[in-house]
């Protein structure tokens, strides 16, 4: 299937439409909540939570014996939340740093989850196959019911974010200060974390345990490059996430059914890359251009200053001088002189230059700054 074919089919084909809608919504909610995680410097929390969800899925299957998505995701939610609270407990009760706590919980839970998966696979039960799809996700298994659930959670999350916008913002910026104002910071914190866990769990079916954290972080990291306003950052991150979902699905559907989750993550990574290079304020490209421009301006000013020092002692400021004397001066190049002529700071006649009235004033003001 060609890419263009996909975009015509997406409106008519049930499966394609469901998957596309699902990945778009997932991208949006992850981008939005990922912004919070990134700004709290809890980028790795998402990774730990998604890995911590795996044993929950396996246990839910072992207990209920069904592969009903909602039941499995409830298992994932419970074990994800347990993992999160253990991480928190470790950080506050022991003196371990947060990266150590995150790493420990991530590998412990993931290891236990893998153990359970192998155990399940050895069972003489025809029903057991397919649980490993939660490792890397399988967008093709999304059905209408899953997408509806995603949409409802996203809607609720949006309402909560709008309602507690002021509280979220101040907690992200300065938690201690928020406490002194009388806000229950623990409540705000738990609220944010709960929705992050919820978003991760919703994404497991599509993107999988291993790559889920990229869905949270990549759109947010890209969005941060384009704006200095929190609200715009959230909107952009949601848009980037949604686009990554749609394009990722389109590419994976049109190219021999490539695995959707990894393709979505790669598309999001492209957004990040482009943002890092091309964003006007923070991007490396424009930073480098500004650097070059500054250096060139400085070179001009240095040369002008040097000329000014020579001219200052003459009664006639436009008295011509030999270009040769500039050779002793490091900042000077032929290009510099040409630029200065363009600015009408100097006049060049043969091998001599003379400062204009305009150039003289420019040099004077240079000193004043």
């Amino acid at each position: 299937m060609e890419l263009s074919e996909y975009f015509t089919l997406v409106f008519t084909d049930y499966t394609l439409r469901t998957i596309t809608l699902g990945t778009a919504i997932l991208g949006a909610i992850c981008g939005m909540l990922g912004s919070f995680a990134v700004l709290r410097k809890q980028s790795l929390l998402g990774d730990a939570i998604s890995h911590a969800a795996l044993p929950g899925i396996a246990l839910a299957f072992l207990i209920t014996g069904t592969k009903d998505t909602n039941l499995l995701l409830i298992g994932a939610l419970v074990s994800g939340l347990i993992g999160t609270f253990w991480i928190r407990g470790m950080i506050t009760k022991t003196h371990l740093k947060s990266d150590t706590a995150l790493g420990l919980i991530l590998s412990l839970f993931f290891g236990f989850g893998m153990l359970l998966l192998t155990f399940i696979q050895k069972q003489p039960n025809a029903n057991q196959a397919g649980l490993d799809k939660y490792l890397f996700g399988q967008a093709a298994t999304l059905v209408q019911k899953d997408v509806t659930l995603m949409a409802i959670v996203t809607g609720v999350c949006l309402v909560i974010v709008l309602l507690f916008w002021k509280e979220f913002k101040i907690l992200l910026f300065d938690a201690d200060y928020t406490k002194t104002l009388g806000f229950n910071t623990r409540f705000i914190d738990v609220l944010i974390t709960f929705f992050i866990v919820l978003a991760i769990v919703l994404g497991l079916q599509t993107v999988g345990v291993v790559l889920m954290s990229a869905m949270l972080l990549a759109p947010a990291a890209a969005a941060r490059q384009w704006t200095n306003k929190l609200s715009i950052m959230l909107i952009l991150a949601a848009l980037f996430g949604a686009f990554a979902g749609v394009f990722g699905t389109a590419i994976s559907a049109s190219e021999n059914n490539l695995s959707t989750g990894p393709v979505i993550v790669l598309v999001a990574a492209v957004f990040v890359l482009v943002s890092f290079v091309f964003s006007p304020q923070r991007g490396i490209l424009f930073k480098q251009i500004r650097f070059w421009k500054n250096r060139r301006d400085l070179q001009l000013q240095k040369t002008l200053q040097f000329m000014f020092d020579i001219v200052r002692d003459h009664p006639d400021i436009s008295h011509p001088h030999a270009i040769k004397i500039l050779n002793n001066f490091q900042g000077y190049t032929k290009g510099t002189l040409k630029k200065m002529e363009e600015k009408n700071w100097v006049q060049v006649k043969g091998v001599q230059w003379s400062l204009t009235q305009e150039g003289y004033h420019a040099a004077e003001n240079l000193y004043k700054q």
């Binding site: 309602l163 509280e167 200060y177 406490k179 002194t180 200095n228 306003k229 929190l230």
Partner: protein
């Protein structure tokens, strides 16, 4: 003359990290309307004292009263200026927005700041000489300007008692003068200001009340009575004057 009201009363405050006491059995009575410096060596628990009074750190024991009532009931009377380095200044927000945060406490949950709050925030920015920077992304402010934004945020709270954690740290002379002028204005309005301070040279010039702290409280009282070699030596463990003049 009747004795002034007690703005802050601290009883038996004890804080420990990992079994090691950071603050030991602190009693403090801070009268209304003073400009008080808390001085002491590194690790003396100066910031911890402020943070535990404000409930940011949980003490093992002790109680704090603001105007004779428990602190929890009097939060709106208290404003806080944290250390500048305690937040990430690359956060996507503007100077005005940060100052607006000072109005959040009185607004309470969910309610958004409106015109009244914005006006108050702009006035506070003007007081600290930062009005022309209101729309500036906070990472593009200098250290001194960031400190002034923090001060403006506390001013907006319109509190009776101000706690400030090293407001003079790493600021240039202009900002230092701007800040001290505001502190003096606050005192004129009979506000109580408690400042963690490092520069012993400026204590007699800037403050009228001082607390010497080194895990335990060494002394507290008017600068003219207790700011002397004896207390400095007890607090810093060296004869301060002799050490400086060496």
């Amino acid at each position: 003359m009747e004795s002034p009201k007690i703005a802050v009363q601290v009883d038996d405050l004890t804080v420990a990290y990992n079994y090691k006491p950071v603050l030991w059995d602190i009693d403090l009575q801070i009268p209304e309307g003073v400009l008080m410096a808390i001085v002491g060596p590194n690790g003396a628990g100066k910031s911890t004292l402020i943070k535990s009074i404000l409930g940011i750190i949980d003490p093992i024991a002790g109680s704090v009263a603001i105007y004779d009532k428990p602190y929890e009931k009097q939060r709106k009377l208290v404003a806080y200026v944290p250390q500048k380095g305690s937040v990430d200044w690359d956060f996507p927000t503007t100077a005005l927005d940060v100052v607006m945060m000072g109005t959040y406490g009185k607004l309470g949950w969910i309610k958004r700041p409106g015109k009244k709050e914005k006006k108050a925030a702009l006035e506070a920015l003007e007081k600290v000489g930062m009005l022309s920077f209101k729309g500036r992304q906070i990472s593009q402010l200098s250290g001194g300007q960031q400190q002034r934004v923090f001060l403006a945020r506390a001013l907006v709270q319109d509190a009776a008692i101000y706690f400030m954690d090293e407001p003079f740290q790493g600021v240039d002379a202009t900002t230092e003068i701007a800040i001290i002028n505001i502190l003096k204005e606050l005192r004129k309005a009979n506000k109580t200001v408690i400042v963690v301070h490092h520069d012993l040279q400026t204590v007699p010039e800037y403050f009228d009340w001082v607390t010497f702290l080194n895990v335990k409280k060494i002394a507290t009282g008017p600068v003219k009575d207790i700011f002397n070699d004896d207390n400095l030596t007890k607090t810093y463990g060296i004869n301060y004057k002799v050490a400086v003049n060496q």
